[in-house]
C-alpha cells in the first residue's frame, strides 16, 4: 500500500519538527541554565536581604546604646570636651575659699589617652569642712579634675592656708569622636 503525503503536509511536518527542535534547543541550552541561575540568585538575594536586615537591626541597637550612653553621661562628655578656664573655675569655686589663686602650668601631658595639665592652687579656708565641700563640688564641676598630693595645710591666724595640685583631664585635640 502506498502512503501519499501531500507537499503541504510535508512542509507542515518539517516546520513542526524545526519548531520542536528550536524549542528543545532553546529550552535546554538557554532557558534551563538561566532558570537555574535565576533560582540560585534569588536564594542568594534572599539570604543577603536577611543578613542586611539583621545588620540593620544590630546597627539600630548600637545606635540606641550610643544615644543612651550619650544622654546618660552628657555631663562627663561635655566636661572632657571643655578646655580649662582658670577665671571660670575661680568664679565657680570662689565661694569655698577666702582667697583662691590658680596657676595653670603650660606643659601638657598625656594619661589614659587624655590630655592632662596641672593646675597649682593656693587658697585660704575657714575650716577643713570647706575643703571637703570643695572636693565634693569638684566632682560636679564643668571639668574632670583630680586633686593630687602633696596637699599642704598651714594655720595662718584664723584661717588655714592650703596649697594643692589639680590635674585637669580633657580630650586630645585630634579626638572628635564625641562631637
Amino acid at each position: 500500500m502506498k502512503m501519499e503525503i501531500s507537499r503541504q503536509n510535508l512542509y507542515l511536518l518539517i516546520l513542526s519538527f524545526l519548531l520542536l527542535l528550536f524549542v528543545l534547543i532553546f529550552s535546554f541550552f538557554v532557558l534551563i541554565p538561566h532558570g537555574k541561575q535565576y533560582r540560585k540568585e534569588r536564594v542568594q538575594i534572599k539570604k543577603e536581604e536577611k543578613e542586611l536586615k539583621e545588620e540593620q537591626k544590630y546597627n539600630d541597637k548600637t545606635k540606641t546604646t550610643l544615644k543612651s550612653l550619650r544622654s546618660e553621661n552628657k555631663n562627663i562628655i561635655s566636661a572632657f570636651a571643655n578646655s580649662f578656664d582658670p577665671k571660670r573655675f575661680k568664679k565657680l569655686h570662689d565661694g569655698y575659699f577666702s582667697e583662691l589663686e590658680i596657676l595653670k602650668e603650660p606643659k601638657e601631658g598625656e594619661q589614659d589617652g587624655f590630655s592632662v595639665y596641672s593646675v597649682k592652687a593656693t587658697s585660704k579656708i575657714n575650716s577643713p569642712k570647706t575643703f571637703y565641700n570643695f572636693l565634693d563640688a569638684i566632682n560636679k564641676t564643668e571639668w574632670i579634675i583630680s586633686v593630687n598630693f602633696p596637699i599642704r595645710f598651714k594655720k595662718e591666724d584664723d584661717l588655714i592656708s592650703s596649697s594643692f595640685t589639680m590635674k585637669v583631664y580633657s580630650n586630645m585635640v585630634d579626638t572628635n569622636l564625641t562631637k
Binding site: 503541504q8 507542515l12 516546520l15 513542526s16 519548531l19 528550536f22 524549542v23 532553546f26 529550552s27 532557558l31 538561566h34 541561575q37 535565576y38 540568585e41 534569588r42 542568594q44 538575594i45 543577603e48 536581604e49 543578613e51 542586611l52 545588620e55 540593620q56 544590630y58 546597627n59 548600637t62 545606635k63 546604646t65 550610643l66 550612653l69 550619650r70 553621661n73 562627663i76 562628655i77 566636661a79 572632657f80 589614659d112 587624655f114 577643713p128 575643703f131 571637703y132 572636693l135 565634693d136 569638684i138 566632682n139 574632670i144 579634675i145 583630680s146 586633686v147 598630693f149 602633696p150 596637699i151 599642704r152 595645710f153 598651714k154 594655720k155 583631664y169 579626638t175 569622636l177 564625641t178
Partner: protein, 176 residues
C-alpha cells in the same frame, strides 16, 4: 455552463490550517522569548540589588565601626571620670580621717599630705599625750613613724611627726 454551485476560490499556499499553525508557532516562540527576557531582566535586577545590598552593608559597617569607636571612647571617659571621682572622694575621706585623728589637746599648725606619707607640725602639752593620743593611731596606719620635739615658750612641746607608708610592703599585701 457551470458544474458547481459555489464560486471557485483562489488557491493559496497559506491555508487556514497553516495560518493557525503559524499563530501557534508565533505564540510559542513569543512565550519562550518572554520567559528568556524575564530571566535576563531578573538576573540584571538581582545584580543591581546585590550591589545595592553590598553598598548598604558597607555603609552600615562604616557607621557601626564609628559607633563602636564612640561607645568605647565614652566608656573610657566614664571609667576615667569614675576613677577620678573616687580618688577625690577617697582623698576627702583621708583628709577628714587625718583631722579626726588629732585629739583636742593637740593643736596642729601645719599638715602635709604626701603620696606615701603624712607630716604633721603642732604643739602638745606633753610627750605622753602625743604618744598615746596621736602617735599610737598614726603607728597603726603608717609603717614608719618618726617624731621630734622641741620646747615651746609656754612649757608645751612643739612636735614634728613624719609618717610614711612602706610602698613595697603595701604592694606585697595587695598581691597576697
Amino acid at each position: 455552463m457551470t458544474y458547481s454551485y459555489i464560486k471557485p476560490r483562489k488557491k493559496s499556499f497559506v491555508t487556514s490550517e497553516l495560518k493557525l499553525l503559524f499563530i501557534f508557532f508565533f505564540i510559542t516562540i513569543i512565550m519562550l522569548l518572554l520567559t528568556y527576557m524575564f530571566l535576563v531582566f531578573k538576573s540584571y535586577s538581582f545584580k543591581q540589588e546585590h550591589l545595592e545590598i553590598q553598598n548598604t552593608k558597607r555603609d552600615l559597617n562604616i557607621s557601626l565601626h564609628k559607633m563602636n569607636e564612640d561607645i568605647k571612647f565614652i566608656e573610657k571617659q566614664i571609667s576615667v571620670s569614675k576613677k577620678i571621682f573616687t580618688q577625690n572622694t577617697v582623698l576627702k575621706d583621708s583628709i577628714a580621717n587625718m583631722f579626726d585623728l588629732v585629739p583636742e589637746r593637740i593643736t596642729l599648725s601645719e599638715a602635709k599630705l604626701l603620696e606615701n606619707g603624712l607630716i604633721l607640725y603642732g604643739i602638745t602639752p606633753n610627750k605622753d599625750v602625743y604618744n598615746f593620743m596621736l602617735q599610737a593611731p598614726l603607728r597603726s596606719i603608717f609603717h614608719n613613724t618618726y617624731s621630734s620635739f622641741y620646747p615651746a615658750e609656754n612649757g608645751w612641746l612643739y612636735f614634728v611627726s613624719k609618717n610614711y607608708i612602706d610602698e613595697d610592703e603595701t604592694t606585697l599585701k595587695e598581691d597576697d
